[in-house]
């Protein structure tokens, strides 16, 4: 690691102020950022830990919406959303291992937008709203390709609002080494239609498989996607799977998610 200053504000205002400094960076659970720092791949002047801000650490139901605070850990979501939104809790409980889940946060995961991360698929499928210190961003506007989002410099994710779907399920096919998603598919059935969020597969990061959404909105059954094919164009090809294989998995996992939802 390079040397850095460390701030641990207890209110959002203080955090926003601290993050306005030159080369300041937010620190959530540190499950991505700390390894990056250790490898000297990032060199912030100031690390602003968000975990001291009590008001950002919650999971609660508010009418038809599940509200998750920006620093709620994966472990909290796994436990506290289990009754209200089992599809989301089922996703969170399979992120990493207990140590990762007890530190990693929803805000960190979304801000990082790793192309193999699980949360982005859930946010897209659930049609969630990402709330920051300055605005509300619709899921469809938030993700902007691998490791890029609509967030501005110093902008903090304070909350994510998930409309609770009628049915939902996340299917994760683990990459053998990292156990991140080689491909992950979240299917959510809402009153006004079905949304399908796909992670791990595309070189453009998380995306919605809209053909499947249309088919499933008409007939919410695994067979509904039988006639569809996913193109391997633009899919990730690496040590763990070819573009064709990933494209194939998108379909398999979508069907399984529908069946399991």
């Amino acid at each position: 690691m390079y040397d850095f200053q460390f701030a641990r504000p207890t209110s959002l205002d203080e955090a926003v102020k601290a993050l306005s400094a030159e080369d300041a960076q937010a620190l959530g659970g540190g499950q991505t950022l700390i390894p990056t720092l250790k490898q000297r791949l990032a060199a912030p002047e100031v690390l602003v830990s968000l975990t001291g801000i009590r008001e950002l650490r919650f999971v609660r139901r508010d009418g038809d919406t599940l509200r998750v605070g920006g620093t709620a850990t994966h472990g909290m979501v796994a436990r506290e959303a289990a009754a209200e939104f089992p599809g989301l809790a089922g996703m969170a409980v399979r992120i990493g291992d207990p140590a990762v889940r007890n530190r990693g946060t929803i805000g960190g995961s979304l801000a990082n937008n790793d192309p193999s991360a699980c949360y982005p698929a859930a946010v897209l499928a659930a049609n969630a709203t990402v709330v920051t210190n300055s605005r509300e961003i619709a899921a469809d506007e938030f993700f902007d390709g691998m490791f890029t989002t609509a967030l501005d410099e110093g902008e903090i994710i304070t909350e994510v609002r998930f409309p609770i779907p009628e049915r939902a399920n996340y299917q994760k096919f683990e990459q053998p080494a990292s156990h991140f998603a080689l491909v992950g598919v979240m299917v959510a059935k809402h009153a006004d239609g079905v949304r399908v969020g796909v992670t791990g597969a595309s070189e453009d990061g998380v995306f919605r498989w809209t053909e499947a959404e249309d088919a499933l909105s008409g007939n919410y059954a695994p067979e509904a996607v039988d006639g569809l094919t996913v193109s391997a164009d633009g899919m990730i090809g690496d040590l763990h799977g070819t573009p064709e294989y990933r494209a194939h998995l998108v379909k398999v996992l979508t069907k399984r998610a529908v069946a399991a939802s």
Binding site: R40, F173, P176, A177, S178, F180, H240, G241, Y245, V252
Partner: protein, 789 residues
């Protein structure tokens, strides 16, 4: 009734108390007064001319004491290779220099270029970033077939076609094997890759070098499997330090799997820096560095041909292998793909004619050397895979095909056509045991059940043989070894009857402190707690070759027996004197000396006391004291053998393989501690399954290691492994060592990969997919690809 002490008892591992309570003392736990810290500047490119290494700016940084480059190390030699192979035309292998720090050229990503020594690691690392390295890229040599074609770039200018040597074994058989294959009614051919692996011991490598200018003593604390070997290589061949002024200490070592046998650049650099700076210098590898600097394993590309007659009798076997050496010859990098591999190609079978051709190739990758099994997994994998393929082609049951060709109990000692003589074994009995413990009778029912669940089930059964107890020195000397392969032990009895065994071997997780104590306890008939085992310090142990190649019990354990026998012989003389009896009439049992036909007795402790307080002692005939050393040089290798069965289920939609059952029946000869032996088998199988299903050390076309962290290098996790059923009740004791033991450390890693892959292929074929071969690791992606036809 299971025994509760001595040979055959599952004594709890005494070392585990400290390991499991965080009290183990590893090299990184040692910090010396005034110690400095080193950090290496490493090559980021695979191949290039080293144009300039500018260290001025770095040297001026805070806390920095010195920045070393190749220019500083002119007085040091290159890292030696311990085994000279003669090629099939009678020429010695090419031995290009293996410099401690890159000289003129860089030859792999991760090669050390400069060594920065500072007050703290962070300062050294900061300064390392300020070292300016200018490299003119050269096209990297990566693919072995292209490398040997003769018209590509060269890793070492003086090595034509990147070929270190072309080895034929046994060369005299070459024509006869060709002829037999030409005329055979059936020849099964298979081309396969034995995938490159990274050892990944839990503890990364660490070195602390301490030169004391006031005494001229050099001490090296090191994560090593063989401190005496390191002392010899570093002292005599690289830095010119006389052995009596160089002490190598290996404290607790947290796993190694072969990767801590070798003499590495980093420890030499630490010692050199300590001599120059007159301060202790420590270097501790990060996990990222380990991926690009620990020696890698395996990496063979092989074509194997098995000739059979119509009833499945093996007629001849021919293999053609390209073995990757990486950028430099490592300590035993030349023998791992040759003698440790070719001598095992007969397997458990009576194939009359065998010819093994291995061409070893330099590439711009991390050097490759021994990794758990070292050459023997490569041999077993090819052979057991081609036999399954032949069985499928001939329509013979694969188990039956193996059985038909077994070396039979009455054939021992059996001389193979690949220069070794198996002393003993009973392969049919081991296979029968496997069939029983794996419940193969229930397989068809389980397959039906899997099919009902929409899954494909497959069974893979294979045997293996390995050569352990390395090695008879006069034999390996003729084959090019530059060291002897005996081992040693000193037994020092104390006046009050307790004793210390000082072993030339060095456990790095295997539990020798427990096992060796059991052997001595059994021989003398005293409590195991009266015995201490010391290892891993050249100042406190006799010269030995350390722990590798499953040799510790067969060779080191034999030395312990011999030293203890000497002790007992002398103790009997003392006892005879004390009891006024003839020495020939004295017996020792349960820690008490008796005289045949009388009721005279004297206790072990009284004899020990007499030896050190010799008031009533035959001083004119016998020296006082009770301390003996033995060196043991084995008469032959030992040949553990076994039969393994794996059952897998494949999800046909995703190609994901799940191992449902795994059974191992091994013949290790006599077993000292069954619990420890089972633990060794468990760990070995985990690594074998890791190789078969998960681990893939891969380079991209620029020579960058893609799988350079756990994000991409898949280590087996508990959830990837089934419960194992293991058995070692078939025991044909080794005929030429005193304990009748064979060694068990590598068996699991040797026997398991073919079982897994054969099971996967069986599952696919049962599902109507005509697939003959998938390379390891058998990832979901590869299985799915194979199913697409």
């Amino acid at each position: 009734m299971p025994k509760d002490f001595g040979i055959g008892a599952s004594s709890k591992r005494r070392e585990d108390v400290r390991f499991l309570t965080g009290k183990g003392r590893y090299t990184d736990d040692i910090n010396l007064q005034g110690q400095l810290h080193g950090y290496f500047v490493r090559s980021e490119v695979a191949h290039g001319m080293l144009k300039r290494v500018a260290t001025e700016a770095a040297a001026a940084m805070p806390g920095v004491h010195r920045v070393f480059t190749a220019a500083d190390l002119e007085s040091a030699g290159g890292l030696p290779c311990g085994w000279q192979i003669t090629d099939r035309f009678g020429n010695p292998m090419h031995e290009p220099k293996h410099p401690v720090l890159a000289e003129g050229k860089v030859r792999h990503v991760g090669e050390p270029i400069a060594f920065v020594v500072a007050d703290t690691v962070e300062q050294a690392r900061d300064a390392a970033e300020a070292v300016e390295v200018e490299i003119e890229d050269l096209p990297p040599v990566l693919d072995m077939k292209a490398a040997v074609s003769g018209d590509g770039p060269l890793v070492h200018d003086e090595v034509p076609a990147n070929l270190c040597f072309d080895w034929g074994f046994v060369e005299d058989n070459r024509d006869a094997v060709d002829e037999a294959i030409r005329n055979a009614p059936h020849v099964t051919t298979l081309e396969l890759v034995n995938n490159r692996l990274v050892a990944n011991p839990m503890e990364p490598r660490v070195a602390i070098a301490d030169f004391d200018a006031s005494t001229g003593d050099h001490t090296l604390y090191l994560t090593s499997q063989n401190p005496h070997l390191i002392r010899l290589l570093m002292g005599a061949f690289v830095l010119g330090i006389p052995e009596h002024k160089l002490r190598v200490v290996a404290p607790d070592v947290g796993g190694a799997f072969g990767s801590k046998i070798f003499l590495y650049n980093e420890e030499v650099a630490c010692m050199f820096a300590s001599i120059q700076l007159r301060r202790p210098v420590k270097w501790a590898s990060t996990r990222s560095e380990a991926f690009v600097s620990d020696k890698h394993g395996r990496d063979h590309v092989t074509k194997i041909e098995l000739a059979l007659d119509d009833d499945g009798t093996f007629l001849a076997l021919r293999t053609d292998t390209l073995a990757n050496l990486g950028a430099y010859l490592s300590t035993i990098g030349s023998v791992t793909p040759t003698y440790l591999h070719g001598t095992l190609m007969a397997g458990n079978y009576k194939t009359p004619l065998i010819y093994v051709n291995v061409r070893t190739v330099f590439t711009n990758t991390v050097p490759v050397d021994a990794y758990r099994g070292a050459g023997r997994p490569e041999a077993t994998y090819q052979l057991e895979r081609v036999i399954d393929k032949a069985a499928r082609e001939l329509g013979i049951d694969p188990i039956e095909l193996r059985r038909r060709n077994f070396v039979q109990p009455e054939d021992f000692p059996y001389a193979t056509p690949v220069a070794v003589e198996y002393d003993t074994g009973d392969y049919g009995a081991v296979l029968d045991k496997l069939i029983e413990i794996a419940d193969l009778a229930g397989f068809e029912a389980r397959r039906k059940q899997s099919e009902a669940n929409g899954l494909l089930r497959g069974l893979g059964v294979n045997t293996y043989i390995e050569a352990c107890g390395i090695a008879p020195s006069n034999l390996v000397g003729q084959l090019g070894a530059r060291a002897g392969f005996y081992d040693s032990a000193t037994v020092r009895v104390n006046a009050t009857g307790g004793l210390v065994v000082m072993a030339g071997t060095k456990a790095h997780g295997q539990g020798h402190e427990t096992t060796f104590a059991q052997v001595v306890a059994e021989m003398i008939g005293i409590d195991e707690t009266m015995i201490e085992v010391v290892q891993g310090d050249t100042a406190h142990t006799p010269m030995g070759m350390g722990s590798s190649g499953s040799r510790s019990i067969a060779v080191g354990g034999s030395a312990v027996v011999r030293a203890t026998e000497k002790i007992i012989n002398k103790a009997k003389k003392i006892a005879a004197h004390l009891m006024e009896a003839a020495e020939a009439d004295v017996d020792l049992a349960d820690g008490t000396f008796t005289v045949a036909g009388t009721d005279k007795t004297v206790a072990w402790g009284d004899v020990c006391l007499a030896a050190y307080v010799p008031h009533n002692y035959p001083l004119e005939d016998l020296e006082p004291g009770l301390e003996e050393t033995a060196f043991y040089d084995p008469a032959n290798f030992t040949f553990p053998a076994g039969a393994y069965a794996c059952e897998v289920e494949i999800d046909p939609e995703t190609g994901k393989v799940r191992i449902d059952r795994f059974a191992a029946a091994d013949d290790f000869g006599n077993v000292i501690n069954p619990m420890i032996v089972e633990g060794q088998v468990h760990g070995g199988i985990a690594q074998g399954i890791g190789q078969a299903l998960l681990e893939n050390c891969a380079y991209d076309e620029n020579g960058q290691l893609i799988s350079a962290s756990y994000m991409d290098y898949a280590m087996p996790r508990a959830s990837d492994l089934p419960m194992y059923v293991v058995d070692h009740s078939c025991q044909t004791p080794c005929t030429h060592n005193p304990l009748g033991v064979k060694g068990c450390g590598e068996a699991g890693a040797i026997g398991s990969p073919p079982a897994v892959v054969n099971a996967v292929l069986d599952a696919l074929n049962s599902g109507g997919h005509k697939v003959d071969h998938i390379d390891m690791p058998v990832s979901p992606s590869r299985v799915w690809q194979a199913m697409q036809g």
